[in-house]
């Protein structure tokens, strides 16, 4: 099995490492922050992050340095950094580990990002369920404040940065960056339409950067070891660095695996993950969290980088890889995910709100043996009417399980419908409402 150098998980994989400030410093922690404050201008930090090719790990994969560059330099009022620690995408659990096991790595990344964009305040928006993670972060912030890394005059310079933990209260949509901002402002977590973008009109309508936990954790390493080093890892030029893939489902060794981008799904699932948990072969997998379209065993050799996965008709998303063995009903799998999307649609846009409940009801009916001819065409049509017609990307996400399972496992749907047809003749037609 190939061995890859770990970057983000390195510390925590050392036995006994608990992520205290002391331990973190011993492994070279906060050197990057010192270096930045001492030697680099904000513009130079942004330049380095640009050159590293780092792209967002939260789902959309937007180049981080470019995002930082959009923040107006000479804006008179405050600016903000928001760390997106909402991690609610089904199949994703990397940020949780990064926060609970090595909180200072994240804090250092946050502080450098704040310095780069000129934000005196950062909020870590962590999902409400992660009580433990929040406590660990709070403690780490106190430690860092005590050591002079956080506060009004960091390490004796005139740079002042405050970091606060802000707990959510149970809403997947608050991971969407503008919904996160609304929620942080104390409102319902409804996404805002864009433009304007957060970079100019974000938190409290002030320039704001929203970055995922993993994204920010990469930053100290880029500063320490150089943009070129980072850019050489993975599949340059578009997918640089490592990624933590969250492996779940029917595999032997589920968990977080950090590998350079560009490793294949086969390697992740069958080597790192130890292969399928039983003798049943692989039937299909989700490559990037619940929002990513399903792929099939035919796609095992696709490289796990942004472009390759996109070419295969799906996306790398949040890095959650969920494996399903033969015998798993894909109709059921789509139904389970649709329940999630129905439950989490914020309700702002008509197509997403109404579509999710309609699609869910059709899937439930098909699964319960009430499928009818025409259902599949209707499903596809409804999905198309949602895709691209909503305020946020949730609308696109919610149709992907349905469309992709329909694409690869249509026969399973058809079988259920045929079976239903066969029994229905005795039970009579389900009434149809007409206007």
């Amino acid at each position: 099995m190939a061995q890859y150098e770990k970057i983000l998980l390195r510390n925590m994989e050392q036995p006994g490492y608990r992520g205290s400030l002391h331990e973190y410093e011993r492994t070279g922690g906060y050197q990057a922050l010192r270096k930045v404050l001492r030697d680099l201008s904000p513009a130079q930090v942004i330049e380095a992050v640009k050159n590293s090719g780092l792209r967002g790990r939260g789902g959309a994969g937007f180049p981080t340095g470019i995002k930082w560059g959009f923040v107006p330099k000479d804006h008179p009022g405050p600016k903000y950094l928001c760390c997106n620690a909402d991690e609610s995408e089904p199949g994703t659990f990397k940020d949780r580990q990064l926060m609970e096991r090595d909180p200072h790595q994240l804090l250092e990344g946050i502080l450098i990002a704040c310095y780069a964009i000129g934000a005196p305040v950062a909020y870590i928006y962590i999902r409400g369920e992660f009580r433990l993670g929040a406590k660990i972060l709070e403690r780490a912030i106190e430690e860092a404040r005590g050591a002079g890394y956080i506060g009004p005059r960091i390490l004796g310079t005139d740079v002042g940065i405050e970091v606060y933990v802000h707990q959510g209260a149970g809403a997947y949509i608050c991971g969407e960056e503008t919904a996160l901002l609304e929620s942080l402002e104390g409102k319902r977590g409804l996404p805002r339409f864009k433009p304007p973008f957060p970079a100019t009109h974000g938190l409290y309508q002030k320039p704001t950067v929203v970055n995922n936990v993993e994204t920010l954790c990469n930053v100290p390493h880029i500063v320490n070891r150089g943009a070129e080093w980072f850019a050489s890892i993975g599949s340059p030029p578009k997918s640089t660095g490592t990624r933590i893939f969250c492996l779940s489902g029917h595999v032997k060794r589920p968990g977080n695996y950090e590998v350079p981008m560009g490793v294949t799904f086969r390697e992740l699932i069958f080597e790192l993950g130890g292969g399928m948990r039983s003798e049943k072969p692989l039937k299909g997998f989700i490559p990037g969290g619940a929002s990513a379209p399903f792929l099939t065993p035919d796609h095992l050799d696709v490289k796990m980088d942004f472009e390759s996965v996109a070419q295969a008709g799906s996306m790398l998303g949040s890095g959650g890889v969920t494996v399903m063995e033969e015998g798993t009903s894909m109709v059921w799998a789509a139904l389970r995910l649709m329940e999630f999307f129905y439950h989490e649609s914020c309700g702002k846009c008509t197509p997403c709100r109404e579509g999710s409940s309609w699609i869910l009801q059709i899937l439930q009916r098909i699964w319960a043996g009430g499928g009818r001819p025409g259902d599949l065409e209707l499903l596809e049509d409804l999905c198309k009417n949602i895709e691209g017609r909503t305020v946020c990307a949730f609308g696109d996400a919610e149709v992907s399980p349905v469309l992709s399972t329909l694409r690869y496992w249509r026969d399973e749907y058809e079988a259920l419908i045929h079976q239903a047809e066969a029994t229905r003749t005795t039970k009579g037609e389900i009434p149809v409402l007409t206007m």
């Binding site: 609970e100 433990l132 959510g168 149970g170 104390g186 409290y204 489902g249 969920t322």
Partner: protein, 176 residues
Amino acid sequence: MLREKHHQYIAAILKRYPVKRSAMLPLLNLAQREEGYVSEAAMKEIAAILDLTPSQVYETATFYTMLNLKPIGTFHIQVCKSLMCALVGADELIHWLEDHLGIKVGETTSDNLFTLSVVECLGSCATGPMMQVNDDYYERLDRQKVTQILDDLRRNGTSPLKSGPFMCPEPVPPSS
């Protein structure tokens, strides 16, 4: 009531934000920790603290599923039923719990000790099936563990089986 009891905490929270309303979720979470749910009185009080109308607090509270607007049991058991956990036995877990507690999902035991809910993904997909009880996660559950956890909770209010800082897979111990 909140104001009297948590005066300092509230003042500290308010200091974190340039706009008062941002303290909404921290205060709603506080209210829930205090009473187990967010009462009408608490919403009114939060409105007064934040200079909002009670409706503004209410509309926000109803958006977030962790906030209970009605009283619930002492221990709120929330089982993740999303696909990833379902692939490794979330549905069985729910049955065990229903069996053991003698209630259905959405109900509270008659001694007001346990409320059973199912929820969507809690970020434990590699360590399912799992449940959250109040602030704590319990992962990689099997029937025996569940029985023990519930007994512990009944007896001691807490259980040593709860998860610590999360890491999966566990680091390989140094080869001896």
